[in-house]
């Protein structure tokens, strides 16, 4: 297992360097920050002073070298927009996104396991058809539309929930529901498909013939074998959420990393953008390693394949 993890961490290092370099170069292709941070009537001298003060007048290679030297010291520079350290802005926003993503995925996985298993238990039954219809609808739901309708119905018309914000448990309901609906729909379909195959396997008949209860058969035997494909899909969906739920963060005023990254791109706030992408990339690499490790734990063939 340690060999497996070591190899995964090593293989992640190269993409990480590519990400750092890519973001640095692409950000600078978006144009001159002086156009945004100085008034339209600023004189050429003011623009030159601005560039010199922030090092934008240096060759790109020199700027990149300075940036790498800063990163090694865990210094990500200062935000052009807010005049605060870039790391402060990122470390403030990232937990908000992680909490939202975590809550969403836990609920989506739990819900999908229950509904998907229920549907697969009796294929083509009414329950199966209801679950299939519901999951297909959920998987195709545009999150922007769902969010706005949720606000209009539950906040404006009924007054049960706040429109937006982060204060109190009620404020979590609409953002989590909006984020939850698509992963839930997709996962229900994956779990159902995998469980239908698993429940028709010979070892399930053996387990039943030995007198195992249905709950144990479904959740103890079939689900364990149906888990790897669901885990793979859940992993992908989680990575998407950790990358920032921009639509939800924008509509509900959730101060997360997705909104921060978009604002940084639009405002050419290079330091914050670079820090946000780096932290997110490291987290996604770590998350992928955890998912691979779970995969290896669930399927001994994965472990053997790696250590052989």
């Amino acid at each position: 297992m340690l060999t497996f993890l070591r190899r995964r961490i090593t293989s992640s290092a190269i993409p990480l360097v590519v990400v750092i370099l890519g973001v640095f170069c692409l950000a600078r292709l978006t144009g001159d920050p002086a156009n945004l941070y100085l008034p339209l009537s600023a004189t050429p001298e003011m623009r030159a002073e601005f560039a010199a003060r922030h090092g934008f007048d240096q060759p790109l290679l020199v700027q990149f070298g300075d940036y790498l030297a800063q990163v090694v010291r865990l210094d990500f520079g200062e935000s052009l927009r807010t005049a605060e350290p870039a790391a402060t802005a990122v470390l403030r926003a990232f937990p908000a996104t992680l909490q939202l993503a975590g809550a969403t995925m836990i609920l989506a996985i739990l819900g999908a396991v229950v509904v998907g298993s229920w549907a697969a238990y009796r294929p083509n039954s009414v329950a199966d058809r209801v679950a299939s219809f519901t999951s297909t609808t959920a998987a195709s739901m545009p999150d922007f539309w769902f969010a706005i309708m949720g606000v209009l119905v539950f906040a404006v018309a009924l007054g049960w929930l706040p429109t937006s914000g982060t204060v109190g448990a009620a404020a979590w309901v609409l953002p989590v529901l909006t984020l939850l609906i698509r992963p839930f729909g997709v996962l229900v379909q994956v779990v159902r498909g995998a469980m239908v195959s698993a429940l028709s396997a010979p070892y399930i008949k053996v387990a039943r013939s030995k007198g195992a209860g249905e709950v144990r058969v479904v959740f103890g035997h079939a689900l364990r074998n149906a888990a790897p494909p669901a885990l793979t899909v859940a992993g992908d969906l989680t990575v998407g959420l950790v990358n920032g739920a921009v639509v939800v963060e924008t509509i509900f005023g959730w101060p997360g990393i997705g909104k921060l990254m978009i604002t940084s791109i639009l405002q050419r706030d290079f330091a914050v953008l670079q820090a946000a992408v780096l932290v997110t990339a490291v987290t996604i690499f770590a998350l992928n390693i955890v998912i691979d490790a779970c995969y290896a734990l669930l399927d001994s063939r994965v472990r053997q394949g790696v250590t052989a």
Binding site: T30, G31, N35, L36, Y37, L38, P39, L40, S41, A42, T43, E45, M46, E49, F50, R53, R81, T82, A83, E84, A89, R92, A93, P95, A96, L98, Q99, G102, A103, I106, I148, V151, L152, A155, V156, G159, P162, T163, S164, G165, T166, V167, G168, A169, A171, W172, R224, T250, I251, F252, G253, P255, K259, L266, R268, C294, L297, L298, S300
Partner: protein, 518 residues
């Protein structure tokens, strides 16, 4: 196969993750004083389109910063009445011009900063010097002062002298943008949470979530009605409007007609004028008949009535009424498609390449229905006989076309633009937009440059007349743009608050002008 201890480990890990998330949820949920429907009546709740990047006073000319900072947290020596356009006393009670290059300001006495220190001429001199002469990229420096050189000196506690290298007849107006801070404020770095003399002080800024201002008990003027103001920000306009309807906010700004504010919506002139900048240096736009034809072809009344949903007023010049230099002689160009077709045909007959593709460079979201309005313009110009396509850009890419040096490989363009003159004097418009060397100018003439230069040196009634003359010359002899409309903003008010927005509201929202209803 997974062994029992591994299952336990997995279960423990899941439990730990769940606990962490729950704890985190509580952290987020309880982390800020963000206002909700239970806010006290003595608090006004305001929802903005965006969080202020900082509350730095020397960046108060930035809309996102100024609408919170100006006249609420900090104050200037003078202030301009947006209704009359007249300059009024604020922290300076009176001022006089001693010579062409020197002014004396008498300062208000008995004024204290939020930290308890006294406001005096040293603080005023420091604030001016910090804004104009420091190296901290103050937005006000570029917006208001340009390359103007000046020095401010405290004569005594309540007398300030300001000397300029060149005569500046509107120095007191320029100083209405310099927010006064104590001399202890950093002169080498911007501050996020300033100390000022305003009626409100910063109580708590929970960055990313909310900002609370509380009434300053030591304020020199009349105490405002609301004891506190809670600001939150939501990027989506329909959410801002919904917050009024669900009693989560009392004031929502930056709304569009489609945001659904309903009866809570209040319209106000937002000091912005929409226009198309014509790239008059390139054929076929270098022929004045083509530029005149563009003006005749655009049905401004129809555009305002249908696309802008009636929000706006067809315009013929870039500065609205109330700004020094506005000319009452200039009327919006009449809609006359027959005349437009005739002018294009004449130009074509004289060898002007009227079939050269012209690109409208549009900017998404510059004002409500920005793309739709450009489609209307495109159709009109095609009907008049021009070849026109549209390219809608985001703000960054659009700025490359707005500001010199312009992209060299671009063909003839019509730039969708909008201009707001916060300062109330055409000097803040003419040079940069119509001057040959203006930062936003793609074309100018020597005659127009001379008229602008003369106007900038004039004062009083002469100044008004000189700028009006320059605008009239531009409209008749240069026709560098197609002005469309003086725009109208929308804000929404709850039934708990009364507030009368004005032309300055977009840039400064005075909490002292908000009152509890009834």
């Amino acid at each position: 196969m997974i062994t029992t201890p591994r299952r336990r480990q997995a279960a423990s890990a899941l439990l730990a993750l769940g606990t962490m998330l729950s704890a985190g949820a509580c952290t987020v949920a309880n982390s800020g004083p963000e206002p909700s429907s239970g806010a006290a009546a003595s608090t006004v709740r305001i929802v903005l389109p965006e969080e202020p990047p900082t509350l730095e006073p020397c960046d108060a000319s930035l809309t996102a910063t100024g609408r919170v900072t100006r006249a609420n947290i900090t104050e200037a020596l003078t202030e301009r009445d947006p209704a009359s356009g007249q300059l009024q006393p604020a922290l300076a009670t009176e001022w006089k011009q001693d010579s062409e290059n020197e002014w004396t300001f008498t300062l208000r006495q008995g004024v204290k900063f939020h930290d308890g220190t006294a406001f005096d001429a040293k603080a005023a001199a420091f604030s001016i010097d910090r804004t104009v002469n420091s190296k901290i990229d103050c937005n006000v420096k570029g917006y208001v002062f340009g390359g103007i050189e000046l020095t401010a000196t405290a004569v005594d506690a309540s007398t300030l002298k300001v000397k300029t290298a060149k005569p500046d007849p509107i120095l007191p107006l320029r100083l209405s943008f310099v927010e006064i801070v104590p001399a202890t404020t950093s002169a080498t770095a911007k501050v996020r949470e300033p100390v000022g003399t305003g009626p409100y002080k910063i109580a708590k800024w929970d960055t990313g979530r909310s900002l609370r201002l509380e009434r300053f008990s030591g304020y020199w003027g009349k105490a405002p009605d609301f004891a506190a103001a809670d600001y939150v920000w939501r990027a989506e306009g329909s959410i801002r409007a919904a917050m009024i309807q669900s009693d989560e906010a009392d004031v929502a700004i930056g709304l569009a007609p489609e945001d659904g504010a309903g009866e809570a919506a209040v319209q106000f002139p937002n000091n912005e004028t929409s226009y198309l900048r014509i790239d008059a240096a390139k054929p076929p736009l270098n022929d004045i008949r083509v530029r005149q034809a563009i003006n005749y072809a655009i049905d401004k009344n129809g555009l305002v009535a249908s696309v802008f949903a009636g929000l706006g007023k067809p315009a013929g010049q870039i500065v609205p009424e109330g700004v020094t230099g506005h000319s009452t002689a200039i009327q919006p160009w009449p809609f006359d498609m027959a005349q437009a077709k005739k002018l294009i045909a004449e130009a074509k007959a004289d060898g002007v390449p009227t079939d050269t593709p012209i690109t409208i460079i549009g900017r998404n979201g510059i004002y409500p229905k920005a793309a739709e309005s450009m489609e209307v313009v495109q159709n009109a110009l095609i009907e008049a006989g021009l070849s026109v396509k549209i390219q809608m850009l985001d703000v960054n890419a659009w700025l490359e076309y707005l500001l010199a040096p312009f992209p060299k490989d671009a063909g003839p363009t019509l730039l969708q633009a909008q201009h707001g003159n916060q300062a109330g004097d055409a000097a803040f418009t003419m040079g940069q937009i119509y001057g040959s060397k203006g930062a936003q100018s793609s074309y100018g003439t020597k005659e127009l440059d001379e008229l602008i230069s003369a106007a900038e040196q004039a004062s009083g009634e002469e100044r008004q007349a000189a700028f009006a003359k320059a605008l009239e010359y531009q409209n008749k002899e240069v026709v560098r743009d197609a002005v469309m409309a003086h725009m109208t903003g929308i804000l929404a008010l709850s039934k708990k608050v009364t507030y009368k927005p004005n032309a300055a509201t977009n840039d400064e929202m005075r909490l002292a002008e908000m009152h509890p209803a009834g």
